[in-house]
Structures are given as C-alpha cells and as structure tokens.
Symmetry: C2
Subunit: 154 residues, 2 copies
C-alpha cells in the first residue's frame, strides 16, 4: 500500500490526531463555559459531535503510538477501511455541527442583532467554540482523505 | 481506469446529475417563495450554494449527454480530477448550507417555539427547502465519492 504523509502509524498521522483531540476538547470546554448554551439544540449537537470526535481521535492516537513504538504496520486493507469509515462519519458530523451552530451564531450576531442588545449574552464564547470546531473539522478532513486515498489505491 | 456505476459518461451518472439539478432547483424555489427568507443569512447562503450546485450539475449533465451520444470516454485522469474537485467543493458547500439553515429552523421550531407563536411565519417552507437541500447533498456526495474512487484507483 502507498505510504502517505499523515497516514495511520506515521508520526505525522499521530500529530494530526493529537491536534484533533486538542481542538475538539477546547471547543467543548469553551461552549460548556458559555451561559445558556443548553437552550440551543445546535450547540448541544456541537458538544456531542466534538465529544465523539475526541473519543475517535484519541483512540487512533493511542493506536498510532502503539504502532510507532512496536514498529507495526497499520496499513492493511481491513484496518484502513475501518479508519476510512470512522474518519468520514466523524468528519461529516463535525462539519454538520459546526455549520448548524454557525447558522445560529450568525443569526444572533448579524440578522437579529441580539448580541448588541443583550450585551451580557455570551456571543463571543459561542463564536470561539464554533471556530474551534471548524479547526477540528479541517484536520479530520485531511485524515479522512489521506486514509481514503490509501484505501482506494490498493 | 475502473468503470464505476454512476461515474462520468454513464447513464447512471447522468440520472444522478439530473436528480441533483431537480432537487437543488426545488430547494431554491421553495425557499424563495417563503416570506422573509432574505432576513436570514443562512437562508441566503442556502440559495447561493444550491444555485452553484444547480449550475455545476447541469453542466456535467450536458457533458454526460454529449459523451453518451458521441460514445466518448470521459474517464481520463485530467477530466476526472476536475470532476473530483468540483464535486467535493459543491458537496461541502451544500452540506454547510443545509446544516446552517437547519440550525436556524430548529432554533425557531424547537428552542424558542417561534413558529407556534407566529403562526403566519413560513416555517414549513423553510423546513421543506432545507430537506430538499439535504437530498441534493446526498446525491452529490455519491457522485463525489464515485469520481474520487475512480481517480484514486488510477
């Protein structure tokens, strides 16, 4: 199988997974610290999907560490297929969550100007949490395409 | 190159493109007919991304018809690369638009119950337009993966 930068069992792949964990955890942390987040379905969905992403990326990070230390080759078709499906599902869920939350934040900020009238409303925290979820999505999109390319080039 | 069902220059591929055009056009039509859609950034973005999708899918449908009638083979690496990039970009934009609009519709329906209090508010039309945009996204996701698979298996 093609050895691609960022693929499973490589240092680059491990760094990508750690980056995904960090930004997903940060997104959850910021959103949970914002008042009244639980009133919004989109924000609750954001936390759920970032939580799923955190678990998935943490699991694969551990696998990468195991492979690197034991000099194991993770790039066999069955394992890579599993990675492809998992990466693709979490990437879609992360993008959907980030965009639905962004839709609500833009509605408050720009369309109904709710943030200006209600100055104590935690709009900034919502924005930071949504921005971090997009950062998470970009990283998982990279992983998802690298593993998909490896699989398709078998 | 692998001949895949739904690939460029096949009957199945043509039907998929026509389906994308139909659901994208329907989504635009329903959203435009809803009162006060223009107040919402997310809904304006939905119309823009469905418009782009309509143009892209219509263009490729014409190409498929040309290829089928002239028995031409569209599956050469350069053309397929173009299809992959175009399909991927429009698929991401469609999903982002559908999700951000869905975030706003769920906020109105469920979180702040705006639709119950303001009965004349066109919530149903918003919902139908968002549902149609998800239908469009599912079809373009299929096309995007088929062409990506063809390209990666060169």
């Amino acid at each position: 199988m093609k050895k691609l930068l960022g693929g499973p069992g490589t240092v680059c792949g491990l760094l990508l997974r750690i980056g995904q964990c960090a930004s997903a955890a940060a997104s959850i942390g910021v959103m949970v610290s914002a008042k009244e987040f639980s009133v919004h379905t989109a924000f609750c969905y954001l936390i759920a999907s970032m939580g799923l992403q955190l678990l998935w990326s943490f699991g694969l990070a551990c696998l990468d560490v195991y492979a690197l230390r034991g000099k194991k080759d993770l790039q066999n078709p069955i394992l890579v297929s599993l990675f492809v499906v998992g990466d693709w599902v979490t990437a879609m869920l992360s993008l959907a969550a980030a965009c639905s939350s962004a839709g609500v934040v833009v509605l408050y900020e720009k369309d109904i100007k709710y943030c200006n009238t209600q100055s104590q409303y935690p709009c900034l925290r919502y924005e930071v949490a949504v921005a971090l979820s997009f950062v998470t999505w970009i990283q998982i999109a990279v992983s998802s395409h690298v593993t998909f390319w490896i699989l398709a080039s078998v």
